[in-house]
């Protein structure tokens, strides 16, 4: 019925005709897919500008570089574990038996122009990809950007980070060199330690016994198809949510919970963001041209007998490896290998391998659940588009630093042998110290960080009330020396006073009028969160400070002839 109506309606109004060739093409596309509404929606969308907002972009751009360089590598890489004798160009490995995967990696490095460069671009980008994601998540955490309405996007980010680790590890293992082979062997050992299913998962993964001839091909399809596919989908979801929510912004003049202040996409933001892609690519190219990464030719082909000193995973897996290193396998005569007599025989639990997996589970679990944990404790269910300055959320910042210290201790433990050789200390002592830091470090870090945050808040108060130290020493008429203080202008002042110091929320009775046990615990945690706090300067305090200024200081200032510093 509508089919014949459309020509009628179009004939009644004259359709727009483009005059230039570009215009014709643009108009063609526009009339087919409707580009105009999209330009209208996004063309002048506002993005706030702050350097710390760009780590996510770095992650996105390195991912694009990974796709580009990875595609090039895939044209030449042969993920086969078939046995060959290397007769290629790298002389120190000439005549050595190896797998096809390793041989083709050597060929990429030594027989294909730009192959080595692309390998290095790919590997350095991968290292930077995970690093950028990590720093981005730290930024989001410490500024409270995960709060409503962005909780789900935080979870998507967490999954992206985990998928980033998966992409990295599957890629690290592909060349089938000695280093990554021993890495796989460690993974195999950890899998075998899993109760009941461990041995079978190992057999399924490797297609039989370790190392078998299947693992490289299987990791390859995960690495080039499944994992990047999932990452791509999640990135789309992540960015979609960023558009829906609009970006957060730091507190400051003109910024409210109801607006977003910044630069429009076209032209400024698009130019900066687009230009930044080239900058990231340029930096990676620079590093790849000048610095070796993953020199597989040094490691030799995988063979279960040799191993190299300093066998470590890439940095992002390091913390798990470090947890394995920190765990004592025996304490005196007590072994963490538990043989458990059961009716059908004895089964073994390798607690020395299983226990170190718990910190990893705690860190990842807490990370994912944090928005809900914090919301439960603080009872803060409002939307937040203005970020917290980390100092204005001392307990959260403290917890974050505690987590970072915990992570970094495990991370450092993964390089305990290199710490020992490079600082001339005993390997065993390094491990003992790190075990101590692993247990105490987070607590100490929490306490110190919280204190620092509170001190910084007090300093902000000082500045608001008495102005900023101008670095000028003046003599009063009575001969006293004092430093001149300059009042901040309203724009700076607003940034320092526009935050809320949350007060503890006491336990609330439930619908039945009783206070449940869970609610009591919540109230306790809530008090722990908020009992130490520094209130922002109030209107009365500021007015009081201003009067104080006018009574006290103007004479001194008049004497030096510097008027104007006290305005505002």
């Amino acid at each position: 019925m509508g089919a014949w109506l459309i020509p009628m309606s179009t004939s009644s109004t004259t359709e727009y005709q483009a005059s230039t060739p570009t215009g014709k093409i643009a108009n063609f596309v526009d009339t087919r897919v409707g580009a105009s509404p999209m330009v209208r929606e996004f063309g002048r969308k506002i993005f706030p500008d702050h350097w710390s907002f760009m780590f996510g972009e770095v992650a996105l751009y390195t991912f694009v570089i990974l796709l580009l360089s990875g595609t090039f590598l895939a044209f030449f890489f042969d993920p086969s574990m078939a046995h060959v004798t290397y007769l290629g160009s790298y002389k120190p490995l000439y005549g050595v038996p190896m797998s096809t995967a390793y041989a083709s990696t050597l060929d990429i490095s030594f027989d294909i122009r730009g192959g080595l460069f692309m390998r290095q671009v790919h590997h350095w980008s991968a290292l930077l990809f995970v690093a950028a994601m990590s720093v981005h998540m730290l930024r989001v955490f410490f500024t409270g950007a995960f709060r409503r309405p962005r909780e789900l996007n935080w979870v998507v980010g967490c999954v992206l980070l985990i998928m980033g680790l998966a992409a990295g590890f599957t890629g690290y293992s592909l060349p089938d060199d000695l280093l990554s082979g021993n890495g796989l062997r460690i993974i195999d050992g950890v899998i075998k330690a899993l109760p009941i299913v461990g041995s079978y998962i190992s057999f399924f993964l490797f297609g039989g016994e370790f190392p078998g001839d299947a693992i490289v091909g299987r990791l390859y399809i995960l690495h080039v198809f499944l994992v990047p596919g999932v990452i791509l989908l999640l990135i789309v979801a992540h960015l979609f949510m960023v558009v829906v929510h609009k970006h957060t912004q730091y507190p400051g003049p003109g910024r409210t919970e109801n607006n977003v202040v910044g630069y429009p996409v076209g032209p400024v933001y698009a130019a900066k963001a687009g230009g930044f892609f080239f900058i990231v690519f340029g930096i990676i190219a620079l590093i790849s041209g000048l610095f070796t990464v993953n020199p597989v030719w040094n490691y030799g082909p995988y063979d279960p007998s040799p191993v190299s000193a300093g066998t470590q995973p890439d940095w992002y897996i390091g913390w798990v490896d470090g947890a394995l290193r920190l765990m004592p396998g025996v304490l005196g005569d007590f072994s963490f290998k538990w043989d458990i007599p059961l009716p059908w025989g004895t089964n073994t639990l390798a607690m020395g391998v299983l226990l170190p997996m718990i910190p990893a589970a705690i860190l990842i679990g807490t990370m994912i659940a944090w928005p809900w944990l914090e919301r439960w404790v603080t009872k803060d269910n409002r939307e937040h588009h203005i970020l917290d300055r980390p100092r204005n959320a001392p307990t959260r910042t403290g917890i974050g630093v505690a987590g970072v210290i915990w992570y970094c201790t495990m991370w450092a433990a993964a390089s305990s042998d290199l710490i020992a050789t490079h600082f001339g200390v005993s390997l065993n002592d390094v491990t003992y110290w790190l075990r101590g830091i692993f247990i105490l470090g987070p607590f100490i870090g929490f306490i110190i960080t919280k204190r620092i945050c509170l001190s910084l808040q007090r300093k902000d108060r000082e500045i608001v009330l008495h102005g900023r130290e101008a670095g000028v020493i003046e003599m009063t008429p009575d001969g006293e020396f004092r430093e001149r203080h300059e009042r901040l202008d309203d724009y700076r002042l607003y940034q320092l006073v526009s935050f809320e110091a949350n007060r503890p929320v006491p336990a609330q009775p439930g619908p039945d009028g009783k206070i449940s046990g869970g609610e009591k615990r919540r109230a306790k945690l809530n008090r722990w969160f908020y009992e130490d706090r520094v209130e922002p300067v109030s209107r009365a305090e500021l007015a009081e400070a201003k009067t104080h200024d006018h009574h006290d200081v103007p004479d001194a200032l008049a004497a030096t002839g510097s008027r104007g510093t006290l305005e505002h």
């Binding site: 160009s89 294909i112 122009r113 730009g114 460069f117 309405p149 021993n182 062997r185 050992g189 075998k192 330690a193 041995s199 190992s202 057999f203 297609g207 039989g208 016994e209 370790f210 078998g212 001839d213 609009k246 003109g254 409210t256 919970e257 607006n259 032209p267 400024v268 080239f278 690519f281 340029g282 930096i283 190219a285 620079l286 790849s288 041209g289 000048l290 995988y302 063979d303 279960p304 007998s305 191993v307 000193a309 300093g310 066998t311 290193r325 396998g329 025996v330 963490f336 004895t346 089964n347 639990l349 390798a350 020395g352 391998v353 042998d417 491990t431 724009y491 002042l493 006073v497 922002p536």
Partner: protein
């Protein structure tokens, strides 16, 4: 655009104050976006011209970078068997520097352009509710209609059988992965056992000679002087087909060392497992399986380079440091009539990391 307000001089954002609800909340009211401060290039046409030239120079650097890449690619030329490592390094460096200049020239140029010449007025845009109440009501109404029209609720027979069918349908896909481990169907070795039993057995057996890794030459007891360490594989390993070779090697590698017999503390049942202080231990770490290959000949410690588990050779490779949970298994050895070292039997316990069925 109607919802945006410019912070530009003609339309100063400074007058835009926060919403009424925020007034009085903080010590001072929101003063609004600071007035726009013009840049050099906004006021001085010569500064603008200079910025334009700078951007053009940066784009020029990018072009030079691309040329440099081609110099690296074509002038350094094809690499291959006769290429020195230094040439490969030079080519890699030229490709890297070329790409870096090419990319940084474009990137820095565009950003410099945006920073100096494009308008830099801060702009404010209103946020919207993620979900309006009106939308919610319409959506709920639609979903109710859809559920009603589908008759999903009214016909529980359809609903329940569908749920059952959908729950079962994915199971074949899971079963399909069973043959990820198809090794029991294609075993070439008659001695191979099924499933986890494979983890209990290695190639070592009574009379199998200890040979050097990787050459496969047998070892006489007299070759092994005090303080030396031999990396050992069972004889016949090198003759296995490639995959089987790696699988068996992953379990069978052994470290052979000779100590002064007086340094060894030997438990009664292992008294004849060594040959005049020559002892053989599995090289596979009992922690997670790295080769424990570091032998310190004076302290008689064996160290795993992956996680630093340390085993004391004098105490039958008991764990003295690190994450390993049990001692390295010892291979009982003896000498055959020709003076070569041979195994007395297989290991008496599974080698390598502990697993559930180990017992």
């Amino acid at each position: 655009m109607s919802e945006q307000s410019h912070g530009g001089p003609e339309h100063s954002g400074a007058v835009e104050h926060a919403g009424v609800e925020e007034s009085g909340k903080y010590a001072i009211d929101n003063p609004g976006i600071p007035p726009h401060r013009p840049r050099l290039a906004d006021e001085d046409p010569r500064a603008a011209k200079r910025a334009e030239r700078q951007v053009a120079v940066l784009f020029g650097i990018s072009i030079i970078g691309t040329v440099l890449f081609f110099v690296g690619y074509f002038v350094v030329g094809q690499i291959g068997p006769d290429t020195e490592i230094g040439t490969v390094r030079l080519q890699n460096m030229l490709l890297g520097l070329g790409t870096a200049f090419s990319m940084l020239g474009i990137g820095v140029g565009i950003v410099h352009w945006a920073k100096t010449l494009m308008p830099d007025h801060e702009v404010s845009e209103a946020r919207h509710e993620v979900r309006t109440e009106e939308d919610r009501q319409v959506a709920v109404g639609m979903i109710d209609d859809i559920v009603e029209e589908s008759q999903f609720k009214r016909r529980p027979l359809l609903r329940n059988t569908l749920i059952g069918a959908v729950a079962l349908a994915p199971l074949p896909a899971i079963a399909l992965f069973r043959d990820l481990d198809d090794s029991d169907n294609r075993s070439e070795l008659a001695t191979e056992n099924f499933g986890v039993e494979r983890l209990r057995h290695t190639m070592w057996d009574s009379g199998v000679r200890l040979v050097r890794d990787p050459t496969g030459t047998p070892i006489k007891a007299s070759d092994v002087t005090i303080g030396s360490a031999f990396h050992v594989i069972p004889e016949g390993l090198n003759e296995l087909p490639p995959t089987e070779h790696l699988n068996q090697k992953a379990k069978a590698v052994v470290l052979l060392m000779r100590l002064d017999p007086q340094d060894l503390q030997i438990s009664p049942e292992r008294e004849d497992w060594n040959v005049d202080g020559i002892v053989a231990y599995s090289k596979i770490c009992t922690h997670v399986g790295c080769p424990v290959a570091l032998y310190e000949q004076h302290t008689h410690h064996l160290l795993c380079p992956c996680h630093q588990s340390t085993f004391d050779l004098t105490q039958e490779c008991k764990v003295i440091f690190g994450p390993a949970g049990h001692a390295l298994p010892q291979l009982p050895i003896t000498v055959n009539e020709e003076g070569f070292l041979v195994a007395q039997s297989d290991f008496h316990e599974p080698v390598g990391p502990a697993y559930w069925e180990r017992g």
